[in-house]
């Protein structure tokens, strides 16, 4: 077997293209969704997280500043959501975290409404004001229940 410059060049190119495709898929397509700075960890407790998933975005006024790093239960069986945020964004202690839906049936994400306190959250602290996810089915259930009730009450006197 002798060296063949053209063939070796083509094989080298093929391997580079292949590795480039693997890298593109791994890093750009499959990698973390939020590519900005991270490392500021806080957590928040919710009564109901709906369909919130790990890696869901965290936004302030619609601007992405971090993502959900993990979801679990705390010792009072509430949902404990860990947030991984941009450390350069200062978050007041009276900030409210709410789970909202993109569109009617879209993905859930966390929106932070900043408070007016001059104390800021430190890493590892908890966002104490939270607003749970709105479950559409439950709302419809309540609506149906409420409209049914008066009718039955009206019937009773007859």
């Amino acid at each position: 077997m002798h060296r063949s410059p053209v063939r070796d060049l083509l094989v080298g190119l093929f391997v580079l293209i292949g590795l480039g495709a693997v890298a593109y898929l791994s890093i750009s397509v499959g990698g973390v969704t939020y590519n900005g700075p991270r490392g500021f960890h806080v957590h928040a407790g919710f009564d109901e997280i709906g369909g919130l998933k790990a890696r869901a975005p965290v936004v302030i006024s619609g601007v992405k500043i971090g993502q959900v790093s993990s979801i679990g239960l705390d010792d009072r069986y509430r949902a404990r959501v860990e947030l991984d945020l941009d450390p350069s964004v200062k978050i007041p202690t009276d900030t409210t975290a709410s789970i909202v839906t993109a569109g009617l049936l879209g993905d859930r994400y966390i929106s932070l409404q900043l408070g007016g306190d001059d104390q800021f959250l430190k890493p590892g602290e908890e966002i104490s004001f939270t607003e749970s996810a709105v479950i559409l089915e439950r709302m419809i259930g309540k609506l149906v229940h409420n409209t049914d009730l008066p009718k039955e009450e009206q019937r009773k006197p007859e």
Binding site: M1, F14, A21, S26, V29, G30, G31
Partner: protein, 258 residues
């Protein structure tokens, strides 16, 4: 009745014996892999034959599959006003299933059959016996570089297939059907996870590479030394490799997939 049961027993025994021979053959390949001489130049030569020469069929097939996925997905999604998630549909289908499986099937047809035919012809024309007479181990010189190259090439080909599929999907979805380009890419990047999707996809491609590499070289190596033997080795390579790819794909998805 007795005769039928005998036939059944014979079939089972033949199958088990075949599996055992494939196992021994695999051990032989592994031994040739770790003991010198290491055949780097032959390995590169096989990379060229199996990899570089498969680039065109892989690229064109990937492009076509991505384009048709995008077209079908768009027509379904637009009914629900959800054409923004076109990127996720095309990307997940390509990365999780179609990329590794179609690449492996194409590589079986394009490279696996050629490998089996080449080794089978060497058996038929007694070239392997000639090598043995010169005390060169044909496992070392002929089989291992081909099998190893198939393993190395498959994940790379699958990644290229997926990337050209994503590009084809982008072309049809964004340029032809008018989906927003940013929405396509962001739904793709949001939906695809490295560990759940990309890593499983590459693992599948690697396992398929091992399957196709071993089956093709084994069928060629154990073919009958006649022209009919070579043709049946080629046919059974394509059949056995394709079926095992599809079956193994199910089990990998069931074990690691979501």
């Amino acid at each position: 009745m007795n005769r039928t049961i005998q036939d059944l027993g014979f079939l089972v025994l033949r199958f088990v014996a075949d599996l055992g021979r494939l196992g021994l053959f695999t051990l032989g390949v592994l031994r040739a892999l770790v003991t010198p001489p290491v055949r780097i130049r032959l390995f590169v030569d096989e990379l060229f034959k199996l990899g570089v020469l498969s680039l065109i069929i892989i690229g064109v097939s990937g492009l076509a599959v991505g384009m048709v996925l995008s077209l079908q997905g768009y027509n379904t999604l637009v009914r629900f006003g959800a054409e923004q998630s076109l990127g996720a549909v095309v990307g997940l289908a390509l990365i999780r299933e179609l990329g590794p499986v179609l690449t492996a099937l194409l590589a079986t047809g394009r490279a696996g059959s050629a490998t089996a035919a080449e080794i089978g012809t060497m058996v038929a024309t007694e070239q392997l016996d000639g090598l043995r007479m010169m005390s060169v181990d044909p496992m070392d010189l002929v089989v291992t570089p081909k099998a190893l190259a198939m393993v190395a090439v498959m994940p790379l080909l699958a990644a290229i297939f997926i990337c050209s599929g994503l590009f084809g999907g982008y072309l049809v979805g964004v340029k032809l059907m008018g989906v927003d380009g940013g929405a396509y890419m962001s739904s793709l990047e949001n939906a695809v996870d490295f560990r759940d999707d990309v890593a499983v996809s590459l693992l599948k491609a690697l396992v398929f590479g091992v399957l196709v590499g071993l089956i093709a070289t084994y069928r060629g190596f154990s073919s009958a030394p006649t022209s009919a033997g070579v043709s049946s080795a080629t046919t059974s390579t394509v059949v056995v490799a394709s079926v095992s790819i599809l079956i193994v794909d199910y089990f990998i998805t069931a074990l690691w997939g979501v």
